[in-house]
């Protein structure tokens, strides 16, 4: 249905409004007539913001994995779990599918987001000639999976509320929960501030 590809809108002197999608004549510092927001050809300082957010997330990723994310007291015996420890405990009690789910949501997804966004930034900064379609797809996956990392945080909030029998059975959230929540929020913001159009801008051929 779509006709043959033209050049990018920016090269032809158009800017797409980030919010409402209306196409406007290139004019820096103008406001979109439809939604009233500032328009710019690309998200301003996209690379810098994304890099800063990734570095902050990386800093929080270390305490998130070292410190205990929750401590479980059963019959007076307290036991602290890190993120990895919780997964090991699930495997030991023969709940492999759930363990796999938590492994994906709280270890693989944040790691993949940090590595993937770094790869995208490197690609933009060094103007690599890559399969841009594939890299855009990588960006889409990163942007989509981000929120699912909150699984661990929600699970802890439910456990903390339900298992609250002082001395006998109690679940207390640990310091890693805050750090991990920070990682999730920062990587989500990083994915949001990255502009995938930058990948395409430096490609010499559009294959």
């Amino acid at each position: 249905m779509l006709k043959k590809p033209l050049k990018t809108a920016f090269m032809q002197g158009f800017i797409r409004c980030h919010d409402c999608g209306s196409l406007l004549k290139s004019d820096p510092k103008c406001l979109c007539p439809v939604c009233g927001h500032h328009v710019s050809a690309r998200k301003p300082n996209s690379v810098q913001y994304t890099l800063a957010l990734i570095i902050s997330a990386l800093c929080l990723y270390i305490p998130a994995n070292i410190f205990p994310i929750m401590s479980v007291t059963q019959l007076g015996v307290a036991e602290t779990h890190t993120i990895v420890g919780g997964i090991v405990a699930l495997i030991q009690s023969d709940m492999v599918p759930i363990a796999l789910l938590v492994l994906i949501a709280s270890i693989l997804v944040p790691l993949m987001k940090l590595l993937g966004l770094s790869l995208l930034l490197l690609c933009v900064h060094y103007r690599w000639q890559v399969n841009a379609r594939l890299f855009t797809r990588l960006y889409r996956v990163i942007a989509f999976v981000g929120r699912w990392s909150m699984l661990d945080i929600f699970m802890i909030s439910i456990l903390v509320a339900l298992v609250d029998l002082r001395g006998v059975a109690q679940v207390i959230a640990g310091p890693a929960a805050t750090a991990f929540a920070g990682v999730v929020v920062l990587t989500m913001l990083a994915a949001k501030s990255f502009d995938p159009r930058l990948i395409w801008d430096h490609q010499l051929s559009y294959e």
Binding site: M1, V34, C35, T136, R197
Partner: protein, 210 residues
């Protein structure tokens, strides 16, 4: 259908993810239009998008009340029972001085889903009544940006994992709140499927021009 046809055809559109300049197409409801270069889903028109948005957001606003107030999951350990809903998790985290996590959970499981449903209802209502409002574009802007941060479906997965973990050590009870929550989840998923952002922005542009 007459409404979609009466829209003035735009000269060009640009792909938001690769900035390719494209001739706009008007796909049939149910069809999809992808960017030929990067594969971005440009348009997915729906039948009666405005009416369905209005109906679904109203349903969601009704369901969110029992989902928040009635107990969702209860457990029984050593004779002591404890009920939990969306709020008890937040307040328990607050009590343990984990206020950052508590605020995040509060926002993503209670407040933002509510705000999003409210915004969808407001936008749907104004578009349905053909009522212009200079806040329409702002509401739509916030709806699109906050959608990502309302994480009901992730919370549902959290409930499942927590229940599996607890099943070994305690007796579980499921309350009415859980069923309301599941209903809310389904309505929310249907709402984000039926709300056609591209079409909504076009209608908002039309209304504000008048």
């Amino acid at each position: 259908m007459s409404l979609a046809l009466s829209l003035a055809p735009l000269a060009y559109v640009a792909c938001p993810e690769c900035d390719l300049l494209l001739n706009p197409v008007v796909p049939e409801p149910g069809d999809k239009a992808y960017c030929p270069r990067c594969g971005y889903l440009l348009q997915r028109p729906r039948k009666r998008s405005i009416e369905r948005t209005l109906a679904l957001s109203l349903t969601g606003l009704i369901l969110i009340v029992p989902a928040n107030l009635l107990p969702m999951v209860g457990i029984k350990i050593f004779g002591n029972s404890q009920d939990g809903n969306l709020w008890t998790g937040v307040s328990a985290l607050f009590k343990e001085d984990m206020w950052a996590v508590a605020v995040l959970v509060l926002l993503s499981s209670v407040l933002l889903p509510l705000v999003n449903l409210g915004l969808a209802f407001l936008i749907g209502f104004h578009l349905f009544m053909h009522k212009a409002n200079n806040q329409l574009a702002r509401w739509m802007h916030w709806y699109e940006h906050l959608n990502e941060w309302a994480m009901l479906e992730v919370y549902a997965l959290g409930i499942i994992v927590a229940c599996v973990k607890l099943a070994g050590m305690a007796e579980l009870r499921f309350g009415l709140g859980l069923f309301a929550f599941i209903g809310l989840l389904i309505v929310n998923a249907m709402l984000s499927n039926e709300l056609d952002c591209y079409f909504f922005w076009q209608r908002i542009a039309q209304l504000t021009k008048k």
